[in-house]
Symmetry: C2
Subunit: 281 residues, 2 copies
Amino acid sequence: MAILIDGKKVAKEILENLADETVFMNPVPGLAVIIVGEDAASKIYVNSKKKKAAELGFNSIVVELPENVSQQELLNKIEELNNDDKIDGILVQMPLPEHINKNDVIEKINPLKDVDCFHPYNVGKIASGNKPYVYPCTPKGIIRLLEYYDIEIEGKNTVVVGRSNIVGRPMAQMLLNMNATVTICHSRTKNLGEITKTADILICAAGKANLITEDMVKDGAVVIDVGINRNKDGKLCGDVDFSSVEKKASYITPVPGGVGPMTICSLMVNTIDLHRIQKNI
Amino acid sequence: MAILIDGKKVAKEILENLADETVFMNPVPGLAVIIVGEDAASKIYVNSKKKKAAELGFNSIVVELPENVSQQELLNKIEELNNDDKIDGILVQMPLPEHINKNDVIEKINPLKDVDCFHPYNVGKIASGNKPYVYPCTPKGIIRLLEYYDIEIEGKNTVVVGRSNIVGRPMAQMLLNMNATVTICHSRTKNLGEITKTADILICAAGKANLITEDMVKDGAVVIDVGINRNKDGKLCGDVDFSSVEKKASYITPVPGGVGPMTICSLMVNTIDLHRIQKNI
């Protein structure tokens, strides 16, 4: 029976330590989250980010722009925040409306304030084996979890399922930079089960309920489930068939309460790190 | 017996077509190669690049700087070339002397003139699944070879051995962007042979003579050998034990005459592409 990786607990510990640091900071770290339109899920994410940042005493602002905002107006707002020294980190909540070019928006953010590590300059730093200003939140949170549970990465066979810019791609790069052997699988992969079965550490970020079943997992594997899906009964679930896979894995993350809490935790850590870099402290 | 992938022939064809285009270009494309110090191998590479560019009628210049040049002098020279509109592509020959920070130098090059695609901005474009201004020369040359021989990439299991910023890392990203399943192996990989044996397309860029032996290759695999080594007799050889592996592979590149000629060919193509972008033609 696998050991449960308790992201909720680890995130709570990290955030408590952060609070001890930030309480004495003056000026305080600043996080600006931009949301465009009325997407319900996005609003929930944005509010929880704002709330957590406020709890830590950050200068926490949310910029709400209408669905029909022009790209130029959005870029102007980012430029304004780039030049606002009370703001250390800028996050643009995805998805954006069709009429806005996502890449233009990401590239408008000053790489020094790129709290999500989406700017090509920062992405390229990781992909070149160098350090970006900060690492992307979810992969960073996953590495923190592996380290917390003393799970070795160097020399391990790791398989990442999913190639999003938010999780899969940077995760693969970061594992490679930590001397893991890395395989990245995706929707066009032909023999997924054969490949996932080779993984010492399996990271699933495909966004497909029950994609990973027991027969696709090696005995004793570490299984990290990044998926957040709803099953037919509307119940929250990951990409992994938890009940069967937990019998085979050595470690496994639950959904919810696994990777999820680490993402917002990393966002807070990143904001403080960018604050330190920009304020030279 | 494997079909020999004739990089020399393919490169020659591409360069002949380029010559037909460039002869009518006015202004002509400009390539500047900077070399620091007296490294013999570097001088040979630089001269062949200069010669090829000159053959194509480019504005082809080589900037030779002494081993003890200061980093600031080097950065100033790059800045000068960034502002020189007779120069479309800038290449700094590696390796650089110890006292110079390689990353500072690479990041000084205007991404629009980054003919090798080493700048983090361009690397990050590829790593985000987007198009850089131009692709790195050696991986680009390998893709051209695979396309020339109608070797399908999408959905194939590809294994890249070696994680350099010149070949291994960008090669893996480019294969992923072409919908291959990609595994990247390196010096810390524990079961290299088991992994290379799963490859439909195996790309070896480790720089180790005879690293890849027959027992590490799947029947009918496509084997691309990027290595340039010398064996004990001082004879040029790749990373692959050619004589035994060619019996098992469906396609294989020789060393020399395989990938090598494609690299300089890509450099010429990239210079013209950057010329077109910067001159809007």
